[in-house]
Amino acid sequence: MIWQLDLLILTLVVFCGIGAIMIRDLLGAAILFGAYSFMMCLLWTIMGAVDVAFTEASVGAGVSTVFFVAAVYHTTRRTKD
């Protein structure tokens, strides 16, 4: 538990989250969601939850973003909000 880093990353996480929601492009949102999961992974590491961080790392980097991109690829990038 390193609180300075914790605060920093938490702030980043919030920015990332807001960004992923606000971007008016689904591919961009998917990519930012990947960044969000990086941040989360860091956060878990900072709080000492290594196993959770490992899972988040493998899932966030390897799987969930790819799923998103695949879904966006087969649908559309367009979004109104």
Partner: protein, 94 residues
Amino acid sequence: MNDFFLGCSLFLGGLMMLSLYRGIFGPTVPDRMIGVNAIGTKTTVLLILIGLLYHRLDMFVDIALAYALLNFIAVLAAARYFQKRKGLHYEKPY
């Protein structure tokens, strides 16, 4: 030494925030990809730094290794999107 590493990690964190600017406000999707890719590299390093801060680097290095190996799958997938000719002109980006 601990304080030094802490400072380094904070510095890296700050840089991540700057990279995130590109990620969020990058005008085009490839720009965001650059930003996020940059964040990914920094994350790898940051993970190792945190491991050092916990004095249990042998436990954390696996996570970093996983990151180094998997980090670019997402980027490849996103790039694949454009390679498959669903370019910016195919659907107007906003």
